[in-house]
C-alpha cells in the first residue's frame, strides 16, 4: 500500500525513470533539487509525516527501499 502510493508519486515526478532499478538516485545525480523539493513535499502530504532537517540525507533518497524505510521510521515516531 505504502509502496504503491510512493511509486505513484515517483511516477508522476519522473515518468521516464524505472525507479525500482535504481539505487543511486542521488549519488548519480538522477534526481535533482527540483525533484527532491517536490518529492519531500508529496511524501509529507501523502503519508502525513514531516521529513525534517536530519532526515534530508542522500542515503534516505537513493532508492525506493530507502525512502520506504524513512517513511516507516517517521510514521512510527508519530
Amino acid at each position: 500500500m505504502m509502496r504503491e502510493e510512493l511509486m505513484e508519486i515517483l511516477e508522476r515526478l519522473r515518468p521516464e525513470l524505472e525507479f525500482e532499478k535504481e539505487d543511486k538516485l542521488i549519488d548519480d545525480g538522477i534526481l535533482d533539487s527540483f525533484d527532491l523539493v517536490s518529492l519531500i513535499g508529496e511524501i509529507n502530504d501523502s503519508f502525513d509525516v514531516e521529513v525534517s532537517f536530519d532526515d534530508i540525507e542522500p542515503e534516505n533518497f537513493n532508492s525506493v527501499e530507502a525512502m520506504l524505510a524513512l517513511i516507516t521510521k517517521l510514521q512510527e515516531e508519530e
Partner: protein, 506 residues
C-alpha cells in the same frame, strides 16, 4: 589601468602567490599555480589560433574548468563554457554554431568529447598543463590585446529553437566587478561560496570578483545544495563570507528548513538573482542570519550579469514584492513604452539599458543582435546602443520593480528558458501533431499540452531529453485529442490555462 582580467590574476600572484585562489571538494590551486598552468595552456592554444576566436571548454564543478578559462584568455581567445550535464545533441548544436578552435576537456571526459559529432580538435587539460610556456609568444598576445576584445560567450535559450551565444568583452566584466567591489565593500578577506555552474553567467561574478579582490573561491557542489546539513557544515569549514547565488538555490535551503540546527556563522553577504525572490524565502534567511547584508540583483546575461541592485534595508511582508532597486554606477536603466518614449512615474515600460556593460552581441547571429541591441531612440544625434531586456518594469517611490516578461521567455529554477525553444523540439517529433507549453508560476511548473494519436508522455520525455537539459523539460503533460484554437487559428493558450492549470495565473 586594468585592460585585461588577467591583470587581476597577476596582481594577486604578486601580492600573495601561495594564497588559495580556487578550490573544489578535492583540489585547490593557488594564485601562482593557476597562472602557471594557464600560461602553459595558453601557449598550446595560441599555437592553433591567431586570437579572438572561440575555445570551447567542457566544464564541471572542478577547479580545472576555471584554470582552463584563464588559459584561453592567455592565448588571446575567448572561452565558451559547455556543461558536461547537457544532452549531447545540445552540445553538438552549440559546437556547430561556434565552430571553436578546439574543445578543452579533462582526461576523464575524453570519451564523451570524442563521441560528439563535430570536427573540433580535442585538447586534454592534463597534457597542455605539462607543456613549456612560451613567454615571448604570450607577451606579444598581451600587447595586442584590447579591453573591447571578447572574454567569453555564454549560451542561453533562444526562441527559434537554437541557443544564442552572448559575447561579452573584458571591459564589461572589469566594469562589473569594480562596481560590485564598491557597492558591496568587497576585499581580499572575501571567501566566495560558488553555487552557479560555470556555463551560467551568475558564476562570472564569483570568478572575477575573487580575482579582482585577491579573494578565494570555494566551489559548492549541486549535491551539497540539495542537502543543507552538508552545505552548512561546508560553509562553516571553509568560513565562507559571501554567496552570490541563484534564488532557487537559496530557496532549497529555506524549503528544507536547513538552518534549524546550525547556521553558516561566517556569512556576511548574501546576494541573489535569476528570478523573483519569494519574500518567504528571504524572511527565513533573515531570521536565521539577521546581521548579514542581503542584495537583490537584477539583469540579463546581455548586460553582463546585473544592471540594478537593491540592498534590503527594511522588513518585507509576504504580500510585498522586493524592488530590483537602482542602476549600478556607470550604467543607465530606463523604461520605454511601445512608442519608444520614456514612461511616466508608476507606468509600466520595457527595461532598457545603456553603458559599458552591454555585451558585444550574439555570436554569429547578427539578426538577433540587431533586434535586441539597437540605437537608443532617445538619442538621434550619434551612434549609441542600448539593450532591450524584454522585461517590463515600473518605478515606484524611486525604486524600480520588475513586473513581468513581454514575451514567452520564463525563469524556471533560475534558468532562462524560451518556451518557443521547447516547442521547436516538440514540433520536430513526428508523432506529435500540435503542442504548446505554458508556465505556471505558482507551481513552478512547465505544462505541456499536446495533440497526437494517443497519449505518450513517456515517449515524449525520453525524446526531449535527447535535445534539452532536464530543467527545460516540462513538468506536467496534458494529452488532448484536439488542442483548442482561437479566432486567429492559433492555439488558445488562455483557454488551456483557465481549464487545465489550477490557479489560472501564469
Amino acid at each position: 589601468m586594468v585592460c585585461n582580467v588577467l591583470d587581476y590574476l597577476e596582481a594577486g600572484v604578486r601580492r600573495h602567490p601561495d594564497k588559495i585562489l580556487f578550490a573544489d571538494e578535492k583540489h585547490e590551486v593557488t594564485y601562482k599555480e593557476c597562472m602557471e598552468n594557464a600560461r602553459r595552456i595558453g601557449t598550446v592554444i595560441a599555437g592553433m589560433s591567431q586570437g579572438r576566436k572561440p575555445v570551447a571548454v567542457l566544464v564541471d564543478r572542478g577547479v580545472e574548468s576555471l584554470v582552463s578559462f584563464m588559459g584561453c584568455i592567455y592565448s588571446g581567445n575567448f572561452y565558451v563554457p559547455i556543461s558536461k550535464e547537457i544532452p549531447e545533441k545540445r552540445m553538438e548544436v552549440i559546437l556547430k554554431q561556434v565552430s571553436p578552435v578546439c574543445l578543452i576537456c579533462q582526461g576523464k571526459d575524453r570519451e564523451l568529447a570524442e563521441k560528439l559529432e563535430h570536427k573540433t580538435e580535442i585538447c586534454l587539460y592534463e597534457e597542455m598543463a605539462l607543456k613549456e610556456p612560451k613567454e615571448e609568444l604570450l607577451r606579444g598576445i598581451r600587447e595586442g590585446h584590447l579591453d573591447t576584445d571578447p572574454l567569453y560567450a555564454i549560451y542561453t535559450s533562444g526562441s527559434s529553437g537554437t541557443p544564442k551565444g552572448v559575447l561579452v568583452c573584458h571591459r564589461s566584466v572589469i566594469d562589473l566587478v569594480e562596481q560590485f567591489a564598491v557597492c558591496f565593500q568587497l576585499d581580499e578577506h572575501e571567501i566566495f561560496g560558488n553555487q552557479a555552474p560555470f556555463d551560467f553567467d551568475v558564476s562570472v561574478k564569483d570568478i572575477y570578483s575573487t580575482l579582482r579582490n585577491g579573494a578565494t573561491l570555494y566551489i559548492v557542489t549541486k549535491k551539497m545544495i540539495m542537502f543543507p546539513k552538508k552545505l552548512i557544515a561546508y560553509l562553516n569549514e571553509k568560513r565562507v563570507t559571501t554567496l552570490i547565488w541563484a534564488v532557487s538555490a537559496l530557496a532549497i535551503v529555506a524549503d528544507f528548513k536547513g538552518m534549524e540546527k546550525d547556521v553558516p556563522h561566517s556569512l556576511k553577504k548574501i546576494m541573489f538573482s535569476g528570478e523573483v525572490m519569494p519574500v518567504k524565502v528571504l524572511n527565513y534567511w533573515r531570521e536565521k542570519l539577521p546581521d548579514a547584508m542581503y542584495v537583490n540583483l537584477y539583469g540579463p546575461t546581455e548586460i553582463t550579469c546585473n544592471c540594478t541592485y537593491y540592498i534590503i534595508d527594511r522588513d518585507f511582508g509576504l504580500d510585498e514584492t522586493l524592488p530590483i532597486g537602482k542602476a549600478f554606477p556607470n550604467t543607465e536603466v530606463f523604461l520605454l513604452n511601445e512608442k519608444n518614449h520614456l514612461v511616466k512615474d508608476e507606468e509600466v515600460g520595457e527595461i532598457c539599458v545603456r553603458g559599458t556593460s552591454l555585451a558585444l552581441g550574439y555570436y554569429r547571429n547578427l539578426e538577433a543582435t540587431d533586434r535586441a541591441f539597437c540605437q537608443n531612440p532617445m538619442n538621434p544625434d550619434y551612434p549609441e546602443l542600448m539593450y532591450r531586456t524584454g522585461d517590463l518594469g515600473r518605478y515606484r517611490n524611486g525604486e524600480l520593480y520588475y513586473v513581468t516578461r513581454k514575451d514567452f521567455q520564463i525563469k524556471h529554477m533560475g534558468h532562462r528558458i524560451e518556451l518557443g525553444e521547447i516547442e521547436a523540439v516538440l514540433d520536430s517529433l513526428d508523432y506529435i501533431s500540435r503542442s504548446c507549453c505554458i508556465y505556471n508560476k505558482e507551481e513552478n511548473a512547465i505544462y505541456m499540452f499536446y495533440q497526437a494519436e494517443e497519449a505518450c508522455d513517456k515517449r515524449i520525455i525520453k525524446d526531449l531529453q535527447i535535445y534539452l537539459p532536464k530543467y527545460m523539460c516540462p513538468n506536467r503533460y496534458v494529452y488532448l485529442e484536439r488542442l483548442p484554437l482561437n479566432k486567429n487559428g492559433k492555439i488558445d493558450r488562455i483557454m488551456l490555462k483557465e481549464r487545465y492549470i489550477c490557479h489560472g495565473e501564469s
